[in-house]
Amino acid sequence: MIQWLNDPGNWTAQGGIFDQLWAHLQYALIALVVAIVLALPLGLLIGHTGRGRWLVTVANAVRSLPVLGLLILLYVMLAPHIHGRGDTVYLLPTEIVLILLAVPPLLASTVAGVENVDPAVRDAAAGMGMRGGQVVRKVELPNALPLVFSGLRSATLQVIATATVAAYLGLGGLGRFVYDGQASQNFAERNAGALLVALLAVVADLLLAVAQRYTVSRGVSGRFSSRPDASTSAEGGPPELPAPPATHTA
């Protein structure tokens, strides 16, 4: 496997590691961006108004669907109607499944994040004359961010993992190496593919952790530059929020 990875040809060739890594990232990014655009405003709205919680329940129920079955079902359903060029026939069902996977954790954690905001804080925000949108933007979202990030990280892991399975259909991405290696008994290639996917997932998670560190207020995360001295401090940082358990579906 090391040998396979050390061969520069395997990296730069057409359909090599660079190409597939880029493809994999693209699939994941498209799905995540769409999922964020859908789930974040919706989650903020549900959390802010307290209405439409059933949508979270529905989204969560989607999690019990088998990803592979969904992927193949959508492919079989859509394939006869897609006459585009290239990968579209594989890409469309894959993106739909990836978005379906990414929305529930994002939605659930955004709603939970907003609902977790201390009622006194929201009361104060409205009482000081913030409009609804200002309460959401200036108060609820910044305080919900840790949980939003937890949902986003969970969604990212699932999307990267599931994008691998899409190679089974015939789509590109790092899963190509896994399935091609398996089919051609080239276990070095197969294992290298697996390793690359794992690395990509770990690196993505790390990047998001860094992004989280820089966007979440220290007042919320509890990381203070100076330790509060004993005489003036309360019990230190705010209580850590329970992160909703992430799920692996692929």
């Binding site: 088998p66 592979l68 969904l70 089974y168 259909l169 197969r190 799920t247």
Partner: protein, 248 residues
Amino acid sequence: MTPPGLTAPPVLLHHAPTAGLAVDSSPGGMFSYFSDHRDEVLNWLGYHAWLSAVPVLAGLLIALPLGWLARRYRWTYPPLVTAAGVLYTIPSIALFVAMPELIGTQILDPINVAVALTVYTVALLVRVVADGLAAVPEDVAQAATAMGLTRRQRLLKVELPLAVPVIAAGVRVAVVANVSLVAVAGTIGVPNLGQLFTTGFQLSVGNPYYPPITLGIVLCVLLALVLDLLVVGATRLVTPWRRAVGGS
């Protein structure tokens, strides 16, 4: 049992039912598909259930002492939880194919899947167990100590029972996720309900052939539902005090 073709895109209909290919290729054809392939499907269902449930049990048994450790000796919490987090980021397909290298089994051995899923369950539950034990109200733990319970008695008689609902929530997540994960192992040929999807995929090369796909989805959802209910039932059984106040 022979695995279906592994080439992608597959053309060879290894498993193409020779005699009993249901005429109805719509999603509703799954009932006749089921009666035509009863033994095979039930066999896959059995594998699937086994692969979904056993790793959760094994994972729980491993996570309990680890979670206790993370709670008892606080300095072990960050490394244990971080390690669990990293393990959890590894996509399942990567772990499935890497497993033979790690434990020296054959690639299609279901044990690979079982071990990989056990790893995920442990990764998920270590933190849940530690946090669940930590969530036992301090005054309750103090009262137990004040009444003279030893550390061990306190753990078994007070802290663990009170942490059950939290741990159970984690187990439910793990078991439902596992049902979906097991199917993914079908793409590399491990026998389970995932085979219905790969079969459907192969049979749909010309025209859509839905019966095995819809049958697989329905069976997977039903299996997830049944296993989830089993966990809920078991939880209620061991936490009778929650029923007394109508807790769920």
